[in-house]
Symmetry: C2
Subunit: 232 residues, 2 copies
Protein backbone atom coordinates (compact mmCIF):
# COMPACT_ATOMS: atom_id res chain seq x y z
CA UNK A 1 0.00 0.00 0.00
CA UNK A 2 2.82 2.36 0.98
CA UNK A 3 4.71 1.23 -2.10
CA UNK A 4 1.67 1.92 -4.25
CA UNK A 5 1.24 5.34 -2.77
CA UNK A 6 4.86 6.22 -3.36
CA UNK A 7 4.76 4.78 -6.86
CA UNK A 8 1.65 6.75 -7.65
CA UNK A 9 3.12 9.97 -6.36
CA UNK A 10 6.21 9.52 -8.46
CA UNK A 11 4.19 8.72 -11.54
CA UNK A 12 2.15 11.85 -10.99
CA UNK A 13 5.34 13.82 -11.14
CA UNK A 14 6.09 12.17 -14.48
CA UNK A 15 9.35 10.76 -13.16
CA UNK A 16 8.57 7.23 -14.30
CA UNK A 17 7.23 7.56 -17.81
CA UNK A 18 7.17 4.26 -19.69
CA UNK A 19 6.84 2.07 -16.60
CA UNK A 20 3.80 -0.14 -16.08
CA UNK A 21 1.71 1.09 -13.19
CA UNK A 22 -1.35 -0.80 -11.96
CA UNK A 23 -3.17 1.20 -9.33
CA UNK A 24 -6.65 1.02 -7.97
CA UNK A 25 -6.85 4.77 -7.48
CA UNK A 26 -6.31 5.74 -11.10
CA UNK A 27 -8.64 6.21 -14.04
CA UNK A 28 -9.79 3.41 -16.30
CA UNK A 29 -10.12 3.17 -20.06
CA UNK A 30 -12.50 0.46 -21.28
CA UNK A 31 -12.90 -0.37 -24.96
CA UNK A 32 -16.22 -1.93 -25.99
CA UNK A 33 -16.52 -4.05 -29.13
CA UNK A 34 -19.34 -3.01 -31.42
CA UNK A 35 -20.76 -6.35 -32.52
CA UNK A 36 -20.11 -5.53 -36.17
CA UNK A 37 -16.37 -5.67 -36.66
CA UNK A 38 -14.84 -9.03 -37.62
CA UNK A 39 -12.92 -10.41 -34.63
CA UNK A 40 -9.75 -10.62 -36.73
CA UNK A 41 -9.95 -6.85 -37.31
CA UNK A 42 -10.61 -6.25 -33.61
CA UNK A 43 -7.54 -8.36 -32.82
CA UNK A 44 -5.35 -6.20 -35.05
CA UNK A 45 -6.42 -3.10 -33.17
CA UNK A 46 -6.15 -4.79 -29.78
CA UNK A 47 -2.62 -5.91 -30.56
CA UNK A 48 -1.63 -2.24 -30.75
CA UNK A 49 -3.70 -0.74 -27.95
CA UNK A 50 -3.90 -3.37 -25.22
CA UNK A 51 -0.97 -2.13 -23.11
CA UNK A 52 -2.75 1.19 -22.71
CA UNK A 53 -6.28 0.10 -21.79
CA UNK A 54 -7.88 -1.31 -18.66
CA UNK A 55 -10.22 -3.72 -20.39
CA UNK A 56 -11.59 -4.91 -23.70
CA UNK A 57 -15.32 -5.74 -23.50
CA UNK A 58 -16.63 -8.39 -25.87
CA UNK A 59 -20.12 -7.03 -26.44
CA UNK A 60 -21.16 -9.29 -29.29
CA UNK A 61 -24.84 -9.93 -28.75
CA UNK A 62 -25.28 -11.94 -31.94
CA UNK A 63 -22.42 -14.32 -31.22
CA UNK A 64 -22.98 -17.79 -29.80
CA UNK A 65 -21.09 -19.11 -26.78
CA UNK A 66 -18.79 -21.07 -29.08
CA UNK A 67 -18.05 -17.97 -31.16
CA UNK A 68 -17.33 -15.92 -28.04
CA UNK A 69 -14.97 -18.61 -26.79
CA UNK A 70 -13.13 -18.57 -30.11
CA UNK A 71 -13.00 -14.77 -30.04
CA UNK A 72 -11.30 -14.83 -26.64
CA UNK A 73 -8.79 -17.36 -27.96
CA UNK A 74 -7.98 -15.02 -30.86
CA UNK A 75 -7.65 -12.01 -28.58
CA UNK A 76 -5.37 -13.96 -26.28
CA UNK A 77 -3.24 -14.96 -29.29
CA UNK A 78 -3.05 -11.22 -30.06
CA UNK A 79 -1.32 -10.84 -26.67
CA UNK A 80 -4.29 -9.41 -24.82
CA UNK A 81 -3.96 -10.55 -21.19
CA UNK A 82 -7.06 -12.56 -20.23
CA UNK A 83 -7.39 -10.42 -17.11
CA UNK A 84 -8.28 -7.52 -19.42
CA UNK A 85 -11.09 -9.41 -21.16
CA UNK A 86 -14.66 -8.68 -20.06
CA UNK A 87 -17.46 -10.79 -21.51
CA UNK A 88 -20.90 -9.32 -21.95
CA UNK A 89 -23.69 -11.27 -20.19
CA UNK A 90 -22.21 -14.79 -20.47
CA UNK A 91 -20.58 -15.60 -17.14
CA UNK A 92 -19.99 -19.18 -18.31
CA UNK A 93 -17.84 -18.01 -21.21
CA UNK A 94 -15.95 -15.67 -18.88
CA UNK A 95 -15.32 -18.53 -16.45
CA UNK A 96 -14.07 -21.13 -18.92
CA UNK A 97 -11.85 -18.65 -20.78
CA UNK A 98 -10.46 -17.31 -17.47
CA UNK A 99 -11.51 -13.82 -18.53
CA UNK A 100 -11.21 -11.05 -15.98
CA UNK A 101 -14.87 -10.24 -15.70
CA UNK A 102 -18.41 -10.13 -16.91
CA UNK A 103 -20.57 -7.14 -17.83
CA UNK A 104 -24.20 -7.52 -16.80
CA UNK A 105 -27.25 -5.83 -18.30
CA UNK A 106 -30.77 -5.73 -16.91
CA UNK A 107 -31.60 -8.97 -18.74
CA UNK A 108 -28.56 -10.77 -17.30
CA UNK A 109 -28.17 -12.79 -14.13
CA UNK A 110 -28.16 -10.69 -11.01
CA UNK A 111 -24.81 -9.23 -9.90
CA UNK A 112 -25.30 -10.53 -6.37
CA UNK A 113 -25.81 -14.06 -7.67
CA UNK A 114 -22.76 -13.86 -9.91
CA UNK A 115 -20.60 -12.51 -7.07
CA UNK A 116 -21.83 -15.23 -4.71
CA UNK A 117 -21.18 -18.06 -7.16
CA UNK A 118 -18.13 -16.80 -9.03
CA UNK A 119 -16.15 -14.47 -6.78
CA UNK A 120 -13.19 -14.69 -9.14
CA UNK A 121 -15.01 -12.54 -11.72
CA UNK A 122 -14.93 -8.76 -11.73
CA UNK A 123 -18.57 -7.79 -12.18
CA UNK A 124 -19.78 -4.65 -13.93
CA UNK A 125 -23.41 -3.61 -14.19
CA UNK A 126 -24.74 -1.55 -17.08
CA UNK A 127 -27.13 1.06 -15.71
CA UNK A 128 -29.12 3.99 -16.98
CA UNK A 129 -30.29 5.80 -13.84
CA UNK A 130 -29.35 6.74 -10.29
CA UNK A 131 -31.87 4.23 -8.96
CA UNK A 132 -30.33 1.41 -10.96
CA UNK A 133 -26.97 2.53 -9.57
CA UNK A 134 -28.30 2.21 -6.01
CA UNK A 135 -29.59 -1.28 -6.80
CA UNK A 136 -26.31 -2.30 -8.43
CA UNK A 137 -24.37 -1.10 -5.41
CA UNK A 138 -26.63 -3.08 -3.06
CA UNK A 139 -26.09 -6.13 -5.26
CA UNK A 140 -22.35 -5.90 -4.71
CA UNK A 141 -21.32 -5.09 -8.26
CA UNK A 142 -17.71 -3.99 -8.62
CA UNK A 143 -18.47 -1.01 -10.86
CA UNK A 144 -21.24 0.45 -12.97
CA UNK A 145 -21.13 1.37 -16.63
CA UNK A 146 -23.37 4.40 -16.97
CA UNK A 147 -24.70 6.13 -20.02
CA UNK A 148 -25.12 7.35 -22.48
CA UNK A 149 -23.67 10.55 -21.05
CA UNK A 150 -23.35 12.51 -24.31
CA UNK A 151 -25.17 12.15 -27.65
CA UNK A 152 -23.96 8.90 -29.18
CA UNK A 153 -24.14 7.51 -32.69
CA UNK A 154 -25.04 4.12 -31.21
CA UNK A 155 -28.09 5.67 -29.48
CA UNK A 156 -29.56 7.85 -32.23
CA UNK A 157 -32.47 10.05 -31.23
CA UNK A 158 -32.20 9.17 -27.53
CA UNK A 159 -31.72 11.96 -25.00
CA UNK A 160 -28.33 11.67 -23.31
CA UNK A 161 -28.18 11.51 -19.51
CA UNK A 162 -25.84 14.47 -19.18
CA UNK A 163 -23.22 15.44 -16.63
CA UNK A 164 -25.55 16.46 -13.80
CA UNK A 165 -27.01 12.97 -13.47
CA UNK A 166 -23.50 11.52 -13.73
CA UNK A 167 -22.35 13.78 -10.90
CA UNK A 168 -25.28 12.64 -8.75
CA UNK A 169 -24.47 9.00 -9.49
CA UNK A 170 -20.83 9.32 -8.49
CA UNK A 171 -21.98 10.30 -4.98
CA UNK A 172 -23.02 6.67 -4.48
CA UNK A 173 -19.43 5.70 -3.72
CA UNK A 174 -19.27 2.99 -6.34
CA UNK A 175 -16.86 3.23 -9.28
CA UNK A 176 -18.65 4.75 -12.27
CA UNK A 177 -17.37 4.18 -15.79
CA UNK A 178 -19.02 6.67 -18.13
CA UNK A 179 -20.03 5.66 -21.65
CA UNK A 180 -21.68 7.30 -24.63
CA UNK A 181 -20.31 9.96 -26.94
CA UNK A 182 -17.12 10.38 -24.94
CA UNK A 183 -14.31 12.12 -26.81
CA UNK A 184 -10.85 13.23 -25.70
CA UNK A 185 -12.35 16.73 -25.64
CA UNK A 186 -15.13 15.97 -23.13
CA UNK A 187 -13.31 13.34 -21.05
CA UNK A 188 -12.14 16.05 -18.64
CA UNK A 189 -15.76 16.97 -17.85
CA UNK A 190 -16.57 13.33 -17.13
CA UNK A 191 -13.65 13.04 -14.74
CA UNK A 192 -14.63 16.32 -13.10
CA UNK A 193 -18.11 14.80 -12.53
CA UNK A 194 -16.43 12.08 -10.49
CA UNK A 195 -16.23 9.18 -12.94
CA UNK A 196 -13.66 6.49 -12.25
CA UNK A 197 -13.07 6.10 -15.96
CA UNK A 198 -14.53 6.01 -19.42
CA UNK A 199 -15.69 3.40 -21.90
CA UNK A 200 -15.28 4.01 -25.60
CA UNK A 201 -16.57 2.16 -28.65
CA UNK A 202 -16.46 4.05 -31.97
CA UNK A 203 -14.08 6.70 -30.62
CA UNK A 204 -11.32 4.11 -30.79
CA UNK A 205 -12.53 1.22 -32.94
CA UNK A 206 -13.73 3.43 -35.79
CA UNK A 207 -10.85 5.90 -35.55
CA UNK A 208 -8.52 6.12 -38.53
CA UNK A 209 -5.66 5.51 -36.11
CA UNK A 210 -6.97 3.62 -33.04
CA UNK A 211 -3.64 3.78 -31.19
CA UNK A 212 -3.44 7.56 -31.55
CA UNK A 213 -7.06 7.79 -30.41
CA UNK A 214 -6.28 5.73 -27.31
CA UNK A 215 -3.33 7.94 -26.52
CA UNK A 216 -5.46 11.06 -26.91
CA UNK A 217 -7.93 9.71 -24.35
CA UNK A 218 -5.07 8.62 -22.15
CA UNK A 219 -3.50 12.03 -22.02
CA UNK A 220 -6.68 13.43 -20.49
CA UNK A 221 -7.06 10.49 -18.10
CA UNK A 222 -3.47 10.94 -16.94
CA UNK A 223 -3.90 14.64 -16.45
CA UNK A 224 -6.89 13.89 -14.24
CA UNK A 225 -6.06 11.47 -11.46
CA UNK A 226 -3.76 9.09 -13.28
CA UNK A 227 -4.38 6.09 -15.49
CA UNK A 228 -4.80 2.36 -14.86
CA UNK A 229 -2.26 0.93 -17.29
CA UNK A 230 1.11 1.78 -18.71
CA UNK A 231 2.22 5.38 -18.35
CA UNK A 232 3.30 6.67 -21.75
CA UNK B 1 -24.16 -51.99 -6.62
CA UNK B 2 -25.38 -55.34 -5.33
CA UNK B 3 -28.25 -53.55 -3.65
CA UNK B 4 -29.10 -51.78 -6.92
CA UNK B 5 -29.07 -55.03 -8.82
CA UNK B 6 -31.33 -56.74 -6.32
CA UNK B 7 -33.65 -53.75 -6.19
CA UNK B 8 -33.86 -53.66 -9.96
CA UNK B 9 -34.62 -57.38 -10.18
CA UNK B 10 -37.43 -57.06 -7.68
CA UNK B 11 -38.86 -54.06 -9.49
CA UNK B 12 -38.76 -55.97 -12.73
CA UNK B 13 -40.95 -58.60 -11.14
CA UNK B 14 -43.43 -55.83 -10.27
CA UNK B 15 -43.13 -56.64 -6.57
CA UNK B 16 -42.42 -53.04 -5.63
CA UNK B 17 -44.89 -50.97 -7.57
CA UNK B 18 -45.18 -47.39 -6.30
CA UNK B 19 -41.68 -47.29 -4.82
CA UNK B 20 -39.17 -44.74 -6.10
CA UNK B 21 -36.40 -46.45 -8.00
CA UNK B 22 -33.39 -44.52 -9.29
CA UNK B 23 -31.22 -46.76 -11.39
CA UNK B 24 -28.57 -46.06 -13.94
CA UNK B 25 -29.48 -49.08 -16.02
CA UNK B 26 -33.06 -48.09 -16.74
CA UNK B 27 -34.69 -46.01 -19.46
CA UNK B 28 -35.04 -42.26 -19.32
CA UNK B 29 -37.93 -39.95 -20.15
CA UNK B 30 -36.91 -36.34 -20.89
CA UNK B 31 -39.47 -33.60 -21.45
CA UNK B 32 -38.31 -30.63 -23.56
CA UNK B 33 -39.98 -27.23 -23.25
CA UNK B 34 -41.06 -25.74 -26.56
CA UNK B 35 -40.12 -22.08 -26.14
CA UNK B 36 -43.72 -21.01 -26.74
CA UNK B 37 -45.66 -22.04 -23.66
CA UNK B 38 -45.85 -19.53 -20.78
CA UNK B 39 -43.71 -20.81 -17.91
CA UNK B 40 -46.71 -20.71 -15.58
CA UNK B 41 -48.51 -23.18 -17.86
CA UNK B 42 -45.40 -25.37 -18.04
CA UNK B 43 -45.27 -25.33 -14.24
CA UNK B 44 -48.84 -26.59 -14.00
CA UNK B 45 -47.98 -29.55 -16.19
CA UNK B 46 -44.67 -30.18 -14.43
CA UNK B 47 -46.40 -30.21 -11.07
CA UNK B 48 -48.34 -33.28 -12.26
CA UNK B 49 -45.72 -35.14 -14.24
CA UNK B 50 -42.40 -34.54 -12.49
CA UNK B 51 -42.37 -37.70 -10.34
CA UNK B 52 -42.50 -39.78 -13.52
CA UNK B 53 -39.84 -38.11 -15.67
CA UNK B 54 -36.05 -38.13 -15.65
CA UNK B 55 -35.58 -34.50 -16.62
CA UNK B 56 -37.30 -31.30 -17.73
CA UNK B 57 -35.23 -29.39 -20.31
CA UNK B 58 -35.65 -25.63 -20.42
CA UNK B 59 -35.12 -25.07 -24.12
CA UNK B 60 -36.19 -21.44 -24.30
CA UNK B 61 -33.94 -19.87 -26.88
CA UNK B 62 -35.64 -16.47 -26.77
CA UNK B 63 -35.38 -16.11 -23.01
CA UNK B 64 -32.69 -14.03 -21.35
CA UNK B 65 -30.53 -15.33 -18.52
CA UNK B 66 -32.68 -13.47 -16.02
CA UNK B 67 -35.86 -15.00 -17.45
CA UNK B 68 -34.34 -18.48 -17.37
CA UNK B 69 -33.33 -17.98 -13.76
CA UNK B 70 -36.86 -16.92 -12.88
CA UNK B 71 -38.28 -19.91 -14.79
CA UNK B 72 -36.17 -22.31 -12.72
CA UNK B 73 -37.39 -20.61 -9.55
CA UNK B 74 -41.00 -21.15 -10.67
CA UNK B 75 -40.38 -24.78 -11.59
CA UNK B 76 -38.74 -25.36 -8.23
CA UNK B 77 -41.75 -23.79 -6.51
CA UNK B 78 -43.87 -26.29 -8.50
CA UNK B 79 -41.94 -29.03 -6.63
CA UNK B 80 -39.67 -30.01 -9.50
CA UNK B 81 -36.40 -31.20 -7.94
CA UNK B 82 -33.54 -29.04 -9.24
CA UNK B 83 -31.62 -32.20 -10.08
CA UNK B 84 -34.22 -32.85 -12.79
CA UNK B 85 -33.76 -29.43 -14.43
CA UNK B 86 -31.59 -29.25 -17.54
CA UNK B 87 -30.81 -25.82 -19.01
CA UNK B 88 -30.25 -25.43 -22.72
CA UNK B 89 -26.89 -23.85 -23.64
CA UNK B 90 -26.43 -21.58 -20.59
CA UNK B 91 -24.09 -23.34 -18.18
CA UNK B 92 -23.98 -20.23 -16.00
CA UNK B 93 -27.73 -20.36 -15.40
CA UNK B 94 -27.47 -24.09 -14.66
CA UNK B 95 -24.68 -23.44 -12.15
CA UNK B 96 -26.29 -20.61 -10.20
CA UNK B 97 -29.68 -22.32 -10.04
CA UNK B 98 -28.06 -25.63 -8.98
CA UNK B 99 -29.77 -27.33 -11.93
CA UNK B 100 -28.81 -30.91 -12.67
CA UNK B 101 -27.34 -30.31 -16.07
CA UNK B 102 -26.85 -28.43 -19.27
CA UNK B 103 -27.81 -29.41 -22.83
CA UNK B 104 -25.26 -28.31 -25.42
CA UNK B 105 -25.82 -27.65 -29.11
CA UNK B 106 -23.22 -27.16 -31.83
CA UNK B 107 -23.17 -23.42 -31.12
CA UNK B 108 -22.61 -23.97 -27.37
CA UNK B 109 -19.42 -24.26 -25.40
CA UNK B 110 -17.62 -27.54 -25.92
CA UNK B 111 -18.68 -30.49 -23.73
CA UNK B 112 -15.07 -31.19 -22.77
CA UNK B 113 -14.62 -27.62 -21.56
CA UNK B 114 -17.84 -27.72 -19.57
CA UNK B 115 -16.93 -31.06 -17.96
CA UNK B 116 -13.45 -29.81 -17.09
CA UNK B 117 -14.67 -26.60 -15.51
CA UNK B 118 -17.99 -27.68 -14.01
CA UNK B 119 -17.86 -31.40 -13.21
CA UNK B 120 -20.98 -31.07 -11.09
CA UNK B 121 -23.13 -30.64 -14.22
CA UNK B 122 -24.59 -33.54 -16.17
CA UNK B 123 -23.77 -32.67 -19.78
CA UNK B 124 -25.84 -33.67 -22.77
CA UNK B 125 -24.90 -32.98 -26.38
CA UNK B 126 -27.48 -32.51 -29.11
CA UNK B 127 -26.27 -34.33 -32.21
CA UNK B 128 -27.59 -35.13 -35.67
CA UNK B 129 -25.15 -37.75 -37.01
CA UNK B 130 -22.98 -40.71 -36.08
CA UNK B 131 -19.87 -38.57 -36.57
CA UNK B 132 -21.14 -35.93 -34.16
CA UNK B 133 -21.84 -38.77 -31.73
CA UNK B 134 -18.22 -39.93 -32.00
CA UNK B 135 -17.03 -36.39 -31.34
CA UNK B 136 -19.39 -35.96 -28.40
CA UNK B 137 -18.17 -39.20 -26.86
CA UNK B 138 -14.54 -38.13 -27.24
CA UNK B 139 -15.45 -34.82 -25.59
CA UNK B 140 -16.68 -36.68 -22.53
CA UNK B 141 -20.35 -35.79 -22.76
CA UNK B 142 -22.59 -37.79 -20.43
CA UNK B 143 -25.22 -38.58 -23.08
CA UNK B 144 -26.31 -37.52 -26.54
CA UNK B 145 -29.72 -36.31 -27.62
CA UNK B 146 -30.16 -37.59 -31.14
CA UNK B 147 -32.76 -36.79 -33.73
CA UNK B 148 -35.07 -36.25 -35.19
CA UNK B 149 -35.69 -39.99 -35.45
CA UNK B 150 -39.26 -39.86 -36.83
CA UNK B 151 -41.09 -37.12 -38.75
CA UNK B 152 -41.67 -34.29 -36.30
CA UNK B 153 -43.97 -31.29 -36.37
CA UNK B 154 -41.11 -29.16 -35.02
CA UNK B 155 -38.95 -30.14 -38.04
CA UNK B 156 -41.42 -29.79 -40.92
CA UNK B 157 -40.16 -30.92 -44.31
CA UNK B 158 -36.90 -32.31 -42.95
CA UNK B 159 -36.05 -35.96 -43.56
CA UNK B 160 -35.99 -37.89 -40.30
CA UNK B 161 -32.85 -39.86 -39.37
CA UNK B 162 -34.68 -43.15 -38.98
CA UNK B 163 -34.05 -46.21 -36.86
CA UNK B 164 -31.11 -47.64 -38.80
CA UNK B 165 -28.90 -44.62 -38.07
CA UNK B 166 -30.09 -44.69 -34.46
CA UNK B 167 -29.07 -48.35 -34.18
CA UNK B 168 -25.63 -47.53 -35.59
CA UNK B 169 -25.23 -44.68 -33.12
CA UNK B 170 -26.09 -46.81 -30.10
CA UNK B 171 -23.07 -49.00 -30.92
CA UNK B 172 -20.87 -46.12 -29.74
CA UNK B 173 -21.42 -47.12 -26.12
CA UNK B 174 -22.63 -43.72 -25.04
CA UNK B 175 -26.17 -43.23 -23.73
CA UNK B 176 -28.43 -42.13 -26.58
CA UNK B 177 -31.67 -40.29 -25.87
CA UNK B 178 -33.83 -40.31 -29.00
CA UNK B 179 -35.92 -37.30 -29.95
CA UNK B 180 -38.30 -36.34 -32.73
CA UNK B 181 -41.77 -37.63 -33.44
CA UNK B 182 -41.64 -40.21 -30.68
CA UNK B 183 -45.02 -41.58 -29.63
CA UNK B 184 -45.99 -44.31 -27.17
CA UNK B 185 -46.59 -46.46 -30.26
CA UNK B 186 -43.07 -46.17 -31.70
CA UNK B 187 -41.15 -45.96 -28.39
CA UNK B 188 -40.65 -49.74 -28.44
CA UNK B 189 -38.80 -49.52 -31.76
CA UNK B 190 -36.53 -46.82 -30.35
CA UNK B 191 -35.68 -48.98 -27.34
CA UNK B 192 -35.11 -51.96 -29.60
CA UNK B 193 -32.61 -49.83 -31.55
CA UNK B 194 -30.64 -49.49 -28.33
CA UNK B 195 -31.67 -46.04 -27.07
CA UNK B 196 -31.19 -45.31 -23.38
CA UNK B 197 -34.36 -43.27 -23.38
CA UNK B 198 -36.56 -40.80 -25.18
CA UNK B 199 -37.14 -37.05 -25.20
CA UNK B 200 -40.60 -35.69 -25.88
CA UNK B 201 -41.87 -32.19 -26.53
CA UNK B 202 -45.35 -31.88 -28.06
CA UNK B 203 -46.25 -35.50 -27.27
CA UNK B 204 -46.60 -34.47 -23.64
CA UNK B 205 -46.79 -30.68 -23.48
CA UNK B 206 -49.45 -30.38 -26.19
CA UNK B 207 -51.40 -33.45 -25.08
CA UNK B 208 -54.94 -32.92 -23.83
CA UNK B 209 -53.93 -34.81 -20.71
CA UNK B 210 -50.14 -34.53 -20.21
CA UNK B 211 -50.10 -36.86 -17.20
CA UNK B 212 -51.87 -39.62 -19.12
CA UNK B 213 -49.48 -39.07 -22.02
CA UNK B 214 -46.48 -39.43 -19.70
CA UNK B 215 -47.93 -42.66 -18.29
CA UNK B 216 -48.49 -44.02 -21.79
CA UNK B 217 -44.82 -43.43 -22.64
CA UNK B 218 -43.82 -44.86 -19.28
CA UNK B 219 -45.63 -48.11 -19.80
CA UNK B 220 -43.53 -48.79 -22.87
CA UNK B 221 -40.32 -47.68 -21.16
CA UNK B 222 -41.07 -49.99 -18.21
CA UNK B 223 -41.84 -52.90 -20.46
CA UNK B 224 -38.47 -52.38 -22.09
CA UNK B 225 -35.64 -52.32 -19.59
CA UNK B 226 -37.27 -50.40 -16.78
CA UNK B 227 -37.69 -46.71 -16.13
CA UNK B 228 -35.60 -44.06 -14.38
CA UNK B 229 -38.13 -42.59 -11.97
CA UNK B 230 -40.98 -43.76 -9.83
CA UNK B 231 -42.45 -47.14 -10.69
CA UNK B 232 -46.19 -46.73 -11.09
Amino acid sequence: MVFCFLFYSIAERNLLKGVTCILTSVKELHIISNGKMPIEQLCEIVMDIHPYVTAIHLREKQKTARELFQAVELLSAANLPLSKVIINDRADVALVTKAGGVQLAFHSLDAAIIKENFPQLRVGSSIHSYEEGQQAKENGTDYVLYGHVFPSQSKPGMTPKGLNELTRLTQLAIPVIAIGGITPENTGQVLHAGAKGIAVMSGVLEALDPLSAVKAYLNVLKNGDGYNGRII
